[in-house]
């Protein structure tokens, strides 16, 4: 039941005649998922950095 | 003078002071309507086919432009926050405001549509159906755009944001109205659809003021 449906890898990537439709979509899906992951990580990092900056600021103001 | 009459006369005075508030949307409507034949070829069959739909869309847009200012200037002048100190529930005042808005700002737009219909050569019976749908549907549209306006009071340059936020909610109304118009062109029975539209408006007019007053209270809380 589970066998590779294409004769060769090139044929797999060609996915004749619909490769141009299928692959970009999966590429886009990957892009969206990884993009969101990355964006979350960045937002987290920025929050941490902002809090650190605030802490430092307070230290300089305190004495 | 009762508070209700005061609000009413104030609205009239405001209109007298800024007639543009009423005239602008009418003007806008007429301009959109006259741009359409210019941008299309002057083919009157095509025009009369799409005419009534165009008038609906244009009226919708004019309505939205109208609603943009529903609460904004009173809010930034600090007059809106004075509503909280009046001895009427806020919902009541909001309802009153929406009613006067419909009367003074929406009704004139509806009354102007026959002219637009003539420009786009819309057949008379369809025009009649158009007028009826507008009268029945606009209360719901007014309520929704009021909600949009109230929700976005807190942002400094909301402009048409409130309207955009509410646009998806207009879809059922537009579709129902389009249905009425299509049936009117066919000559088939429009009553069931009109009843549905009416029900929509009644429900909106009942519940939306409550939500609007919550939104207003919310936004007053955050301002200075």
């Amino acid at each position: 039941m589970l066998e590779f449906q294409f004769a060769s890898l090139t044929e797999f990537f060609e996915m004749a005649p619909h490769g141009v439709y299928v692959w970009p979509i999966y590429g886009l899906g990957l892009l969206v998922l990884s993009g969101l992951t990355f964006a979350n990580a960045r937002q987290h990092r920025r929050a941490v950095r902002m809090i650190q900056r605030n802490l430092e600021r307070e230290e300089t103001h305190e004495p | 003078m009762s508070l209700e009459r005061r609000m009413f006369t104030r609205e009239l005075k405001l209109i007298a002071a800024r007639p543009g508030d009423i005239l602008k949307p009418i003007w806008f409507l007429m301009l959109v309507i006259s741009m359409v034949p210019l941008a299309l070829a002057p083919d009157s069959d095509l025009l009369s086919e799409i005419g009534s739909a165009m008038i609906w869309v244009a009226t919708l847009l004019a309505l939205l432009l109208n609603a943009e200012h529903l609460f904004q200037s009173d809010f930034s002048d600090g007059v809106l926050e004075q509503w909280l100190f009046l001895d009427r529930p806020l919902v009541w005042l909001v309802g009153l405001k929406l009613i006067t808005h419909w009367l003074f700002h929406v009704l004139p737009l509806i009354l102007i549509t026959p002219i637009a219909g003539i420009i786009l050569s819309v057949p008379t019976d369809v025009l009649l159906a158009l007028l009826v749908t507008l009268v029945i549907a606009t209360p719901a549209l007014t309520c929704f755009s009021g909600l949009g306006a109230a929700l976005t009071l807190g942002s400094s340059r909301s402009g048409i944001l409130g309207v955009l936020v509410m646009m998806p909610l207009f879809v059922p109304v537009v579709i129902l109205a389009a249905g009425v118009l299509i049936r009117a062109m066919d000559g088939s029975d429009t009553l069931p659809l009109l009843a549905l539209l009416g029900a929509f408006s009644v429900v909106a007019a009942t519940f939306v003021p409550i939500v609007v007053s919550a939104a207003i209270r919310l936004n007053i809380g955050g301002s200075n």
């Binding site: - | 005075k13 100190f85 809380g221 200075n224």
Partner: protein, 202 residues
């Protein structure tokens, strides 16, 4: 006219804004006849406190009660005049006051001459000078029967004469058993008041 006795009881009120604590565990009672000036440097939280008491800014922690009942039920007792003009620029002076106070025209005209706007009743507010616009907003103090006045920098843009007129009006309001809370940076000369100092920040 004499007001019913009234009191405002503030207990344990705290407020934090923009990550900074403005006031903390503020408790006090205001009674009929009291005039309170909220003082403090720019950004101390005077406006925020006044708006909280007026019910325009949500209480973060603590309670405010008027005559034992919660604030939200007594808002009609309050007259609030804030930073914002409180009047509509495109309406005439008279129309603005008619809407806000509900008084009749004759009374309003008398009030307008009290606040030095005689002859300006059918000017649009946008055609007035800064100080005249403030006078128009303050004219409400001569019309309304609310016992509690909350005034945020009422003296802004007023000339010396109008400052005196306003002082006199506040005093007579307190004498009649009303309460007045206000803020200002230049302490008024001809007024008897207690001061609440909010913390130094800027």
């Amino acid at each position: 006219m004499i007001f019913e006795p009234i009191d405002i009881e503030i207990s344990d009120l705290s407020c934090e804004r923009d990550d900074r604590s403005l006031f903390k565990n503020l408790s006090m009672t205001l009674n009929s006849g009291q005039i309170l000036r909220v003082a403090g440097p720019n950004g101390a939280g005077k406006t925020t406190l006044l708006r909280t008491i007026a019910g325009l800014f949500d209480i973060q922690t603590g309670t405010i009660r008027m005559n034992q009942s919660p604030l939200t039920e007594c808002l009609q007792q309050i007259l609030y005049i804030g930073h914002k003009p409180q009047v509509t620029k495109d309406l005439t002076v008279l129309d603005n006051l008619k809407f806000l106070t509900g008084s009749d025209e004759d009374h309003l005209k008398r009030v307008l001459s009290d606040v030095g706007l005689k002859g300006y009743h059918d000017s649009l507010v946008k055609e007035l000078s800064q100080g005249q616009g403030r006078r128009c907003a303050l004219a409400r103090l001569w019309c309304v029967e609310a016992p509690i006045w909350i005034l945020d920098e009422p003296y802004t843009a007023l000339d010396v004469e109008m400052v005196k007129t306003l002082d006199a009006r506040i005093t007579s309001h307190a004498t009649a058993g009303g309460i007045c809370l206000f803020t200002t940076h230049q302490p008024p000369q001809s007024l008897n008041y207690t001061t609440l100092e909010l913390g130094h920040v800027t």
